[in-house]
Amino acid sequence: MAQPSVAANPRRGMGSRIRRFVRRYGVPYTYIAPFYILFLVFGAFPILFSFYLSFHDWDGISEAFFVGFENYAFLFTDPVFWQSMYNTLFIAVVAHVPMLLTALVLAFLVDLIKNRRLQEIVRTGYFLPAVTSSVAVAMVFSTLYGTRYGFINWILTSIGLSPIDWWGGTGFWVKPAIIILFIWRWLGWNMIIYLAGLQGIDHSLYEAAAIDGATKSQIFLRITVPLLIPVILFTLIQSTIGGITIFDEPFVLAGTSGGTGKAGLTLALNLYNEAFGYGNFGYASAFAYAITALIMIISLVNLRLFGFGRAR
């Protein structure tokens, strides 16, 4: 392959540079290649195609025609978009804040269980909901949420409280219903992640603190939480993505309309409707890019808040 002629010198220089490059970086590039190759083949086209579509008007059947930034401009004036934005952020925040806090406290407690067997059972119990399919979830929870024969209302009325009209009325209870289901499904997942983080913490730190007279809550706040920051960040970013793209729970509970007053209509549900319900593939694509931007912004804010933006 190498040409020993003088005339070919520059080329040989180039060739050897390439060879040196390959020797030095061949392994890492080969190792990361599968991801980028498969992504270019299968991931890039859909993403670029939806980008293209976001500037067009297309019902999925007829010819697409170019509309420029109309789809993006319409986002700002579309009342349904803003309503679904509000619903999504409301559900995401109200579901995640108590869920992550509870998960953290639970993880701390479960970590204290010394019997290995018992701890395993507890962990598995908490993790179960994360492996369910939405069909079963829908069925079980619609029975819990029944207005007249529902489990929850049965309990409420038997202790003398008035029953909840989950799906009707002002639509107020639609969001709590979704939030409860969401917490049920993902509390265990987050608890396990925190627990995993906790088990990486040296327990002698706790004991030293206890000897110094620290209370349990002081230990929790001063030692556990700071050491868990990377794990918390991980769950926050995962929650941001999961919260903003929340689809299954409102879909199975409130249906595609989002229920009374559209109180359960989330961004992802609205997006699904626009594409497959109403055949607005162009608008749906613009919509998807708006959601993507939102996720990126919130993730970056999370990173900054925890001081990771500058570190890397």
């Binding site: 179960l128 983080g197 088990q199």
Partner: protein, 294 residues
């Protein structure tokens, strides 16, 4: 970590703070127990409902103990869908996909963690960014590609595009950065181990816990995947379990026989539960080591 455990085992006591406030800890333990009931009850109930007749499912007060219809509901499921065939389809797809994801994630994560190369930062950020695009609108162009490739009704269409995972690479990089020392690589190089094979000969055995956790997460995602197999697969005998199960919802004008639906769902959830229960230890170990390293 190991030191902490040993210390705790040696003392054989919980931190003394616990002992001083028994009432508060009783309340806390009650909460832990309540949380478990809250998490597990719907499952128990699903299995209970799977053993009832259709009418019994909706009787009031609801059934709280197992009925006698398990076998007949099971037979009913088999009458509507080729359950075991669908089960095998799901298993083949999930196992193959999981194996590929593990391989490529280990490779990618290893490269990002242990090597420096031009464009590393940009490539890594780009990869993370791909995680943030919602998949719903990509269904149509994805299906177009499947047609071009002739992969409609073919498991390849589910396995190959799903063989890599940005999350997986990210996950393995986090783990490797925190747990594989560079000296190990140097030692292997000195021993004359070719650069390309260090990962597979030396490093891979250290990655088992993280691979185990990633494996379970991938397997779960693949097993519960609905939209893509629905669009791609054509014949009932090629369906994956979730798609086949939704056939149990039946006709729009006849409502759903929830007892049979529950039976099918329980049959489908059982293997996942089994996999999880039996691998919980490894899963936890992997998370412990993987998650903590920011």
């Amino acid at each position: 970590m190991a030191i902490g455990k040993t210390a705790r085992e040696q003392t054989g006591k919980e931190p003394s703070a616990t002992a001083k406030i028994p009432l508060r800890s009783i309340v806390l333990w009650a909460l832990v127990t309540l949380g478990i009931l809250f998490s597990a009850f719907p499952f128990y109930w699903m299995f209970v409902l799977a053993t009832q007749t259709a009418q019994k499912v909706f009787s009031f007060p609801p059934p709280l103990w197992f009925g006698a219809e398990a076998l007949s509901n099971y037979r009913e499921v088999l009458e509507v869908i080729p359950f075991w065939r669908n089960f095998m389809n799901s298993a083949v797809i999930s196992v193959t996909q999981t194996a590929l994801v593990l391989l490529f994630s280990a490779m990618g994560g290893y490269a990002f963690a242990m090597y420096d190369f031009p464009g590393k930062r940009q490539l890594f950020v780009f990869m993370l960014a791909t995680m943030m695009i919602p998949g719903i609108v990509q269904v149509v162009p994805w299906f177009m590609m499947m047609r071009w490739l002739g992969w409609v009704n073919d498991f390849k269409g589910l396995i190959i595009p799903g063989a890599v995972s940005a999350f997986g690479v990210f996950w393995m990089r986090q783990y490797i950065e925190g747990s594989v020392p560079h000296e190990l690589l140097d030692a292997a190089r000195i021993d004359g181990c070719p650069e390309f094979t260090i990962l597979f000969r030396v490093v891979i055995s250290l990655l088992k816990p993280a691979l185990g956790a990633l494996g379970i997460m991938t397997f779960m995602g693949s097993w519960n995947n609905f939209m893509q197999p629905l669009i791609l697969l054509r014949e009932t005998s090629r369906f994956t379990l979730p798609v086949a199960l939704s056939l149990l919802k039946g006709d729009p004008y006849r409502g759903t026989n929830y007892a049979v639906l529950m039976a099918g769902t329980a049959m489908a959830v059982l293997p996942i539960l089994t996999v999880f229960v039996f691998s919980a230890k490894r899963f936890m170990a992997g998370l412990t080591a993987g998650a903590i390293k920011g």
